[in-house]
């Protein structure tokens, strides 16, 4: 046995546990879901092969389009807002003169480590139309607050506010880490050359932050498309006798739709087809983001 072959075998042996785990936990369920998406399969019934029938059915399913629309609104609403808030905060926390930096960082990161279900319950109470503190404060300044979660027009935006609150800390920490990897010499050189703070940010910091920015955007978009817990708990968590994704499907995001089809209506084949569409959508959007945002550079 040659040295290289022996080395390859050793490498394979070391990688085997991880490969096995990947196969059992990721690859097998993925392939199985792919196979299920070609079947008409109720959770408590028999499987009947239908080919691409489930995918064709998606096109004429109003709930599919509704959930896709809601997820798109969520993504377009949440991701830019998180970026716009977290990046300036990260820049501020990166200032050498700032005191209590660790305290601020902890404060902003707290929502990330807070249990999302518990947080969603608390937010549900905050958004109560009559007794909730948010509308009480609005009332003090003479504004009649919306019905928030009880109104199809305001329910999704209310939940998006929670998603923004939950994710700012994560994006902030990532941006802060990215900012701290940028060599000080670049910004100092720009300042010596007479660049204003704005010019330094736009021409030096932001381009050098590109890998972090790309990573944060990709992660946020994936999170937005996969969101489930916040709309589920806030629309129907606890013994409320409410429909998940309500009122009137106004908060029925894509993963909630998949859950409803699979585990409420038991149409696992159709739910799997929906899940594959989501996966394709995420892959496609990630590739587009990489194409549009990624700026390869070396220093």
């Amino acid at each position: 046995m040659t040295f290289y072959r022996r080395q390859a075998l050793w490498g394979l042996a070391f990688a085997a546990p991880a490969l096995l785990l990947f196969g059992v936990i990721v690859a097998y369920p993925l392939l199985w879901a792919g196979w299920l998406s070609l079947q008409d399969y109720s959770l408590v019934g028999r499987k009947v092969f239908t080919g691409l029938g489930n995918y064709a059915r998606l096109l004429s399913d109003p709930l599919f389009w509704k959930s896709l629309r809601n997820s798109s609104v969520w993504t377009v609403g949440v991701v830019p807002v998180v970026l716009v808030i977290s990046l300036p905060l990260a820049l501020a926390l990166n200032l050498p003169l700032l005191r209590l930096r660790a305290a601020f960082r902890t404060a902003y990161f707290t929502p990330v480590v807070t249990n999302v279900v518990a947080a969603a319950f608390v937010w549900r109470w905050l958004f109560d139309p009559q007794l909730g503190p948010i509308n009480q404060v609005l009332k003090l300044i003479g504004i009649q607050g919306p019905a928030w979660l009880a109104d199809p027009r305001s329910a999704l935006p209310a939940m998006m506010i929670v998603a923004v609150w939950k994710q700012i800390g994560q994006a902030l920490v990532l941006f802060l880490a990215g900012l701290q990897t940028i060599p000080q010499e670049f910004t100092e050189a720009a300042q010596i050359d007479g660049a204003s703070p704005g010019q330094t940010f736009w021409r030096v910091t932001l381009p050098l932050l590109n890998p972090t920015l790309l990573f944060v955007v990709v992660i946020l978009v994936i999170n937005a498309l996969r969101v489930f817990t916040i709309p589920y708990v806030m629309s129907a968590g606890g013994l409320q006798w409410q429909t998940p994704g309500g009122p009137l499907d106004s908060t029925r995001v894509f993963v909630l739709h998949i859950y409803d089809v699979g585990f409420v209506r038991f149409q696992m084949g159709y739910a799997s087809a929906n899940a594959f569409v989501l996966m394709a959508l995420i892959v496609l959007l990630t590739l587009i983001q990489m194409k549009l945002i990624q700026r390869p550079f070396e220093y």
Partner: protein, 408 residues
């Protein structure tokens, strides 16, 4: 370093402990039992579990009570993957699917002989029977009653002893009892409509005959004038400035138990919840309102069934037998406020209204898992101005599709 002198005694002790024939614990049969959590019924189950284990020392009952919202996810995933508990609770309407799919075991003849099957209300057994075999026994048998908060009713000038007899009277009285703030927001509901199913089913099953869902034709049968008339009553309750409740008022909260509503339609088992959450409320139980004709009360019940893959089917069926025995039913009645679902126990029901209205029961039709469609229609009546006819037509089309999916 282990002392060598210790090795032999250790081996002997470990062998003795692990040897199957010498283990007392392994002689016990463990029956795994799942049902959804309910404040009052959980307490009753614990009481029954204790008694049963004392009487049957060789059997251990292990219970798991997930919240209702997650119960079916857990149960059906387990069943679909060939596992699951020995005994579980399901909606009686689901029996056709479970029997056809081979998920539930038929009861041994000895169990049926002991169950004194003739003592159950006949309509509670219909879903379980296939030929001469029974695939489950009833539990959590529930019809509907109306709860009235006495002080709040009196405050509104109503007499709890003279409850509304018809839906029109309920609309009138509930409107009188509804309170609003300066901006017109409800601050006290005339009728707590949180349990939507109870409200719309009460009305629908009094209007639509002979079937609300036609299983033979696999279609929802409430799209005609009767169904529209039923939903027009919901419209009177929920739409416009005279609405008696609103999804915007304390959404998702127990308004009646929080003393923020006067009337409330729910199951008799809700007495157990009231006892736990709001024991200080003085209340009256009245029959639900009726249309012009005789009183009709929709009833829904659950089943205790045994998993066909259970290795302890005999022990599991014995446990089900105990849960549904006269002793079991009386415990459910006493601890949880359940209805008597054995005819011989009707006299033990302390409330005359609950007892007397049992004869007006109409079991609900099989709907697959299509309740969310009617729930959404209920919300749409409250939250939109779309004509009822259009909303009903759309919902009936969706439900028909849902029923066809479930029954194919």
């Amino acid at each position: 370093m282990l002392n060598r002198k210790l090795i032999l005694p250790l081996v002997v002790i470990l062998t003795a402990l692990l040897w199957p024939g010498h283990s007392v614990a392994q002689q016990r049969v463990t029956v795994l039992h799942w049902q959804h959590f309910h404040e009052a019924r959980a307490a009753a189950l614990r009481a029954l579990q204790t008694v049963y284990q004392q009487q049957n020392t060789g059997v251990a009952i292990q219970t798991d009570l997930p919240p209702l919202a997650q119960y079916f996810d857990k149960l059906l995933t387990a069943l679909a993957t060939g596992s699951g508990p020995d005994v579980f609770q399901v909606r009686a309407e689901w029996m056709p699917i479970l029997i056809n799919g081979g998920f539930v075991a038929g009861a041994p003849e000895s169990v049926i002989a002991e169950a004194n099957i003739g003592d159950f209300f006949p309509w509670t057994l219909t879903p379980f029977r296939r030929g001469n075999r029974y695939y489950g026994l009833p539990t959590d048998v529930q019809h509907l009653v109306m709860y009235i908060n006495n002080p709040l009713a009196r405050e509104a000038g109503l007499d709890p002893a003279r409850p509304p007899q018809t839906w029109d009277e309920l609309v009138t009285q509930a409107r009188r009892a509804t309170k609003r703030d300066g901006q017109g927001n409800i601050v006290q509901a005339g009728l707590d409509t949180r349990y939507k199913w109870a409200v719309y089913s009460s009305i629908l099953y009094q209007h639509v005959f002979p079937n609300v869902v036609n299983p033979a034709a696999k279609r929802a049968a409430w799209g005609g004038p009767q169904g529209i008339a039923a939903w027009k009553i919901v419209e009177q309750l929920l739409r416009g400035p005279a609405a008696v409740d609103s999804p915007r008022f304390l959404p998702g909260q127990r308004k009646w138990e929080a003393k923020k509503a006067v009337f409330y339609i729910n199951h008799p088992v809700n007495r157990g919840v009231i006892e736990q959450l709001a024991p200080d409320i003085a209340y009256t139980i009245a029959p639900i309102p009726r249309t012009g004709r005789d009183l009709v009360i929709p009833a829904r019940f659950w089943a205790y069934v045994v998993n066909s893959r259970s290795r302890n089917q005999e022990a599991a069926w014995r446990w089900v037998l105990f849960l549904t025995s006269p002793v079991g039913v009386r415990t459910w009645m006493k601890e949880a406020g359940d209805l008597p679902w054995r005819q011989s126990l009707v006299s033990y029901e302390p409330n005359a209204v609950v007892r007397d209205t049992l004869k007006f029961v109409r079991p609900v039709d099989y709907t697959g898992n299509c309740d969310p469609i009617r729930d959404n229609l209920f919300d749409a009546v409250a939250l939109t101005t779309t004509p009822i006819e259009q909303l009903v037509a759309e919902a009936v089309a969706k439900e028909t599709q849902c029923v066809q999916e479930a029954l194919k």
